[in-house]
């Protein structure tokens, strides 16, 4: 038991934990100030923001589903950044995965769910992977900055999905403007909490999360990825096929995003609609950044942000505060976490300068005595 606590103490990065807690506190403080300035009942609003996710079973289920989405998106980003490639295009991969999964479900509507669901998952994974493959290859073979290409591909994906969901794959009903046809009831994942978004997809996600953590932290491949990300030239000299690892990491990242899209369709929405993702991947990216691209913190922080997100929705319903306060708080956490390193370095530097000055004075005094 004692050995366990010792190991835990070794593993925990206390500096990081303290920084995270302080950042959360500062961010909530900033949120409070903004709430007060814009004239809302601050106490009630904050109570709703923090406690809203636990106000009813439905909110709790929705919160867990959202934590699942954030966690998978964050891990997708982790996988890429481990190998030194930033997948900013997850949003596009996610919605394309959702679109294709939904349409495959429509095509196979007469098949048994045991065939249709794996086919849809496969389709989503392939589309997401392919969509990440393009920027991956461009980055590795031609050295084109992946951030710009993935962001541009996001916009392209939005228009592709718009075209298909309004055109060839539209629900034939004339009342519908831009959705695909609804899926067969038997294809939907069964709900764990009725009338919430929480479905059995979360079990699959938990397995997937464990796998990603295991591969990144415990296997040689994960180590090779980390090596490639930290120093690609050294990795190449060490005999690692760095180029291939970067592309594979990017494709896996895209596949995970595509799968999240499929989960959104088969777990919650039941069809492709333009609100299937509301910049969810970007929020996952923020989570990954705050977690410094480590899997376990990614899981914990996605839970925290899911609580705040559904708390913010509850707050909008009950107190009338615009939900956008959630983004403000989230980015405030990032700014604090990003600034923390610099502040710590500045304090360290100031302390050293003071110590050096004291040392100089001491020597001077010592010198004076000697004279």
């Amino acid at each position: 038991m004692k050995a366990f606590f010792l190991r835990l103490k070794q593993k925990l990065d206390f500096g990081y934990l303290v920084a995270l807690l302080i950042s959360l506190g500062v961010a909530l403080l900033i949120g409070t100030v903004i709430l007060t300035v814009t004239g809302f009942d601050t106490g009630k609003a904050l109570g709703a923001l923090i406690g809203g996710s636990f106000s009813s079973r439905q909110y709790f289920g929705n919160m867990l589903e959202y934590a699942m989405v954030l966690c998978l998106c964050g891990l997708a980003c982790d996988v890429g950044s481990r190998a030194g490639i930033f997948n900013v295009g997850g949003e596009g991969q996610l919605i394309l995965g959702a679109l294709f999964a939904a349409q495959i479900g429509v095509w196979l509507k007469d098949a048994s769910p045991w065939i249709a669901i794996p086919c849809a998952a496969l389709g989503a994974v392939l589309v997401g992977g392919f969509y990440a493959f393009i920027p991956g290859v461009l980055k590795v073979k031609l050295k084109v900055n992946e951030v710009i290409t993935t962001i541009m591909l996001n916009s392209v994906a939005v228009f592709i999905c718009g075209y298909f969901s309004k055109g060839p794959w539209k629900n034939p009903s004339p009342r519908v403007v831009s959705d695909t046809s609804p899926l067969d009831r038997s294809f939907m994942f069964s709900k764990l909490i009725p009338s919430s978004n929480l479905s059995t997809a979360i079990i699959v996600s938990a397995v997937l999360t464990f796998l990603v953590w295991y591969i990144l932290q415990k296997t040689t491949k994960g180590y090779e990825m980390r090596l490639t990300g930290d120093n690609p030239r050294f990795a190449r000299f060490a005999g690692i096929k760095a180029d291939r690892i970067v592309i594979v990491a990017m494709v896996i990242s895209g596949m995970m995003c595509g799968l999240v899209g499929m989960f959104r369709v088969y777990g919650a929405a039941g069809k492709y609609q333009s609100s299937i993702s509301n910049d969810y991947y970007f929020e996952g990216l923020m989570v990954a950044m705050i977690a410094q691209y480590q899997p376990i913190p990614t899981i914990i922080i996605s839970l925290i942000f899911a609580i705040l997100r559904w708390g913010a929705i509850f707050m909008e319903d009950t107190v009338g505060v615009p939900i956008q306060i959630y983004w403000i708080i989230q980015t405030a956490v990032i700014f604090c976490m990003a600034g923390e390193k610099g502040v710590r370095a500045a304090i360290h530097k100031a302390r050293e300068t003071r110590a050096a000055k004291r040392e100089i004075e001491k020597r001077r005094e010592g010198g004076a005595v000697r004279e």
């Binding site: 809302f40 031609l142 615009p322 956008q324 959630y326 403000i328 700014f335 390193k341």
Partner: protein
Amino acid sequence: MNENSWSNILTVASSTLNQMLRSATPVALAALGGLMTEHAGIMNIGMDGMILMGAFTAAAVSTALMSAALGIVASVIFGILVGLFFALFTVKLRSDEFIIGCALNTFAMGITVYLSRSLFDSAGISNAPHLHNISIPLIRNIPFLGSVVSGHSLFVYLTWAFVILMWLFVYRTPVGFWIRASGESPETLRTAGRNPERMKWIASILCGVFCGLAGAHLSLGNLNGQFGQRMVAGRGYIAFACVIFGGANPVKVFAAALMFGFFDAIGLQLQSSKLVDPDLTSAIPYVITIIMMVYVVVSGQRRRERIAKQQLKKLELK
């Protein structure tokens, strides 16, 4: 070909070129700011958010004070503040530029819509006092040129002046030289007795100002006094791409922005002709951006290789 179809073609061409100038302007303005940070060695992904906040400030102040001019002034002042904020993190605290940029974009989405909803009770602003189009007295009477060049908002013409001014600033003034040095070789600049951090601060503030102006143009010039959550539509990223195409040279960057504007205009023409689905035509500028990006990077590598080979040959001859 008869007379009628010729005049048809001319009308289409002039309206395409007119739209090209309109579409290029916000991108060009933001890119002028982006090239400053690029020269100072800061990777600025956050321009999208800077533009959005500039657009909101301009629209909100213009609505509140009933004056478009004050809206523009406010967006410039706000741009300075955003530039200071960006520099505080990227220069002073040495945070990851990529993280700060991404966070700035999300923050902009949050704060603008939050303020818009709590101040104006709606997620967007419309009918703010806006800038009127200027028709230039003599030029507007020239047959083809008149309909292309005349009748834009003030910012379109200002941008042309800014391009020249920025070229002079970057390549012909000491401060511009120091800013370039602060990105290329900060230690050399420090040895020469200048503070590279200060140059980065200046570059960042200039970037904030230009992005603020780009936002003001979007809301008050281009959209006639409107603000919406998605109005920037990735123009900050396209501006960033333009900076890279143009090698951070103001004139070349402007040419890249014009190219983006041209394809945007072609997309809009196709859309109004109803030959192609509007969703597909809207994707054109983004696809073109990717293709241009690949082209620029590959041609740059080729050129470097060629130079290296020539150098090698020279050495062999010796």
